[in-house]
């Protein structure tokens, strides 16, 4: 048996065994995920059909715009595929504990590298498969290509390999050149991401785009579109679209294949010569004994016990420190933070169009509300739901303190509320961007902040009912337990009800006071039984 077979067998067994534990919950999560994917594909197909049929009726302008839209879609999904493969490769280099075992074995680093590349390649392929419905609709309504299946299959294969290769090059480069990610480096990365996002927005919405509607002549229209950055002949992602929209060229196809092989050659060199070095750089200082706090990590002093008036304070600070000093948690927060920045940019870009499209502002308000709620829900699932489960490691200490178990629950609830406070400035910036009247802005700000706090409390209570102490080391696994799924469903229900109520308020169907009374009633009805159950449950922990 060769070494790659051995490594893949181990991976296959690991996945198969993973299913044996809590199978029902895992199947539920997988079906839920597949349902979401199906929903995305279905929506994409429906909206794409309407758009492309509509575009086809306005020939020759419509089909020209459709080709541009396809190029934008391919480019965007390609960028997304590169980002996801970079993220997966990076998490392997920075967090995967199996590497420290595998590198001590007589296995060539390139074999380990290949075995770790596959999950990233599958993910980027999955992202790119979302293009199929769009191409299918284009082929159906606008231009029927004789080579549709071959070009799609071959094209997506090349794109997925290229995106994975680029992701691998980026992630290995990050680990090799940046090494262990410190706070300063994290800030540099986040600013770079925001900068790249700004460039992406410029590419997607070039200044000439808003002048297209005023153009009567098709030749002028086409020449204006041709000037858009994403129409560049040399842009690799355009090769696929051009091949499907009538200009299949042998030279450009060969160029695409050549680019792919060049990248694969670079990846092969990285795998054999730089992968182990990059991993070592990423782990640098991890083995250093003693105080290894980097600058900026120790600036949050633990209060002197003598000065503390109540026993909660050190526990609260300890819980917060365990989050803010963990690189994994900070990276996760930065990722969510960058999503919030993108949301702020998007809201500000879309609000400009509110005068041209009636009803758009309401939709933007609701989308902003739902987006903020979902981003903070993801954060709460990651950091607040597993908080009680993580007590496993310090149970010897915390459960022997002169505190009742209810007190410990109260302390966790306090932390949940405190962790919701940073949402307030974010919410204020987003609401400011929406340019609402002062009363509506106030209601939206209060509601967004309140829902973040409420979601945090819900996650904390559910996480305390039956904490998954067994998976305490792995917060994601804790959140995807049966109770985690239940907490997620309930949180989504709360967001949905709140969105409907908010829509009614914006339509003036209910007053601000009526809205507040209904919302607070909902909170009381939902929280009371869960609080009672959680209070009872903490008594039954056996650690």
């Amino acid at each position: 048996m060769n070494i790659l077979q051995t490594l893949s067998n181990r991976e296959r067994r690991r996945v198969a065994n993973w299913f044996k534990d809590n199978t029902a919950t895992k199947l539920f999560v997988i079906f839920g995920f597949l349902a979401v994917v199906f929903g995305i594909v279905f929506t994409e197909y429906r909206i794409g059909s309407i758009y492309l049929r509509f575009a086809n009726e306005y020939a020759p302008f419509g089909p020209a715009m459709a080709v541009y839209s396809l190029k934008v879609a391919v480019f965007l999904l390609f960028v997304l595929a590169v980002i996801s493969s970079t993220a997966i490769s990076n998490s392997t280099l920075y967090q995967n504990r199996t590497l420290s075992h595998l590198f001590t074995l007589p296995i060539k680093p390139v074999s380990i590298f290949i075995s770790k590349v596959v999950p990233g390649w599958l993910t980027s392929t999955g992202v790119l498969l979302l293009l199929i419905p769009l191409f299918f609709i284009y082929n159906k309504y606008i231009f029927k290509s004789d080579y549709f299946v071959i070009v799609i299959g071959f094209g997506l294969l090349i794109l997925s390999i290229v995106s994975q290769a680029l992701g691998t090059i980026f992630s290995t480069g990050i680990a090799y050149f940046l090494g262990k990610i410190t706070r300063q480096k994290q800030l540099i990365i986040i600013f770079s991401l925001v900068f790249c996002f700004g460039i992406l927005l410029k590419l997607l919405f070039p200044s000439g785009m808003f002048r297209l509607a005023e153009t009567d002549s098709y030749s002028t229209f086409q020449s204006q579109i041709d000037k858009f950055p994403l129409m560049g002949k040399l842009l690799p992602t355009n090769w696929l679209v051009d091949s499907l929209t009538g200009s299949l060229s042998l030279i450009s196809t060969l160029s695409a294949v050549l680019v792919m092989f060049c990248l694969l050659a670079i990846v092969k060199i990285i795998g054999s010569k730089y992968y182990l070095l990059a991993w070592r750089q990423a782990q640098n200082q991890s083995y250093l004994a003693g105080n290894n706090l980097e600058k900026g990590q120790s600036d949050f002093d633990f209060p002197k016990i003598g000065k503390v008036k109540n026993i909660y304070s050190p526990l609260v600070i300890n819980d917060i420190l365990s989050l803010v000093r963990s690189n994994t948690e900070v990276n996760y927060s930065l990722f969510l933070g960058s999503m919030l920045i993108i949301l702020i940019f998007s809201v500000n870009s879309l609000v400009i169009l509110k005068d041209t499209t009636p009803g758009l502002l309401l939709a933007i308000n609701l989308i902003a509300f739902v987006s903020v709620s979902l981003i903070f829900l993801i954060s709460a699932m990651r950091s607040i739901f597993p908080m009680m489960a993580k007590e496993k490691f310090t149970a010897w200490f915390s459960f022997s303190l002169p505190l009742s178990r209810e007190d410990l629950l109260k302390e966790k609830l306090l932390v949940s509320v405190l962790l919701g406070i940073p949402s307030l400035p974010v919410v204020m910036i987003i609401v400011h961007g929406l340019r609402l009247s002062s009363d509506k802005a106030l209601v939206l700000t209060l509601l967004m902040t309140a829902i973040v706090m409420f979601i945090n409390i819900l996650q904390c209570l559910f996480g305390s009912i039956s904490p998954n102490f067994k998976e305490a080391e792995n917060p994601d696994a804790v959140s995807t337990s049966s109770l985690g799924i239940l907490a997620l469903m309930l949180s989504l229900l709360v967001i949905a009800i709140s969105t409907i109520q908010l829509s009614n308020y914006f339509h003036s169907n209910i007053s601000g006071l009526g809205f507040a009374i209904r919302w607070i009633s909902m909170v009381i009805v939902i929280t009371t039984p869960i609080l009672l159950i959680a209070t009872k449950s903490v008594q039954k922990y056996s650690l």
């Binding site: 067994r13 690991r14 001590t104 007589p106 250093l288």
Partner: protein, 243 residues
């Protein structure tokens, strides 16, 4: 002809930014010898072990295994067995699957793997739990599985970081016996530990590492002679020298 050391560190230095963790370390372990590296926390023991196993690259100097620089000859890892301080965990592999995986990596046939696994499992009385998930094992059982994994392919060099933490008394005795037999059959063992009794019981030579430097090394009798206490135990020697 002079026999090459099985493990040799030549002027090995490791710096993490401005902190020198290991400083110009020269150390050698012969075939048939157990060498114990002891020292306070942060002395550089684990860093040394991780440099020998290639998990950390030395800032300068060379690590030779059976006369070959391990950085340039990764195939020499086939002659190396490593027992880490934290028993390694593949959460969703059973202990048996993990051991089979290690056997496959070392190119053992399934029958050969099975034979060696069974023989080592019997020594540790692990047969009952070996089909459970690794993540469900106690720390001691995880440690036993990593010891078996390190010995399965019959390496010539064994590198051990904290060998007996979490092991029950009987397993400690068995482990010490296994290491002794390994050395008596021509293997070389480099182990670092805080458990001085282990070092005293089984090590042929002992080195004391402090602040990244090898302060002293030798047989226990040499060390006793050095501090002029004829029957001093290793704890006394250690404290005396570090003072």
């Amino acid at each position: 002809m002079k026999q090459l050391p099985a493990i040799e560190l030549i002027k090995v230095r490791k710096k993490f930014n401005d902190i020198t963790v290991v400083s110009d370390l020269n150390l050698s372990v012969k075939a048939g010898e157990i060498y114990a590296l002891i020292g306070p926390n942060g002395a550089g023991k684990t860093t040394t072990i991780k440099m020998v196993t290639t998990l950390i690259e030395p800032s300068s100097g060379e690590v030779l295994i059976l006369g070959k620089n391990i950085a340039n000859h990764p195939e020499i890892k086939g002659e190396l067995g490593y027992i880490p301080d934290e028993p390694f965990v593949y959460p969703y592999l059973t202990g048996k699957e993990f051991l089979e995986f290690v056997g496959d990596v070392h190119g053992l046939s399934r029958e050969e793997s099975q034979k060696r696994i069974d023989s080592l499992l019997n020594k540790y009385h692990l047969t009952e739990v070996i089909n459970g998930f690794f993540s469900d094992y106690s720390r001691g059982n995880k440690q036993k599985v990593t010891i078996i994994a390190a010995l399965m392919h019959q390496p010539k060099v064994l590198v051990v970081d904290e060998p007996i933490v979490g092991l029950d008394v009987e397993s400690q005795r068995i482990t010490k016996k296994i290491f002794r037999e390994f050395a008596d059959n021509g293997g070389a063992v480099l182990l670092c530990t805080h458990t001085l009794t282990v070092a005293q019981d089984i090590a042929d030579r002992i080195g004391i590492l402090n602040q990244g430097k090898l302060v002293i090394e030798g047989k226990i009798k040499d060390l006793q002679h050095l501090i002029k206490k004829k029957n001093a135990d290793l704890e006394t020697i250690y404290l005396d020298i570090l003072e």
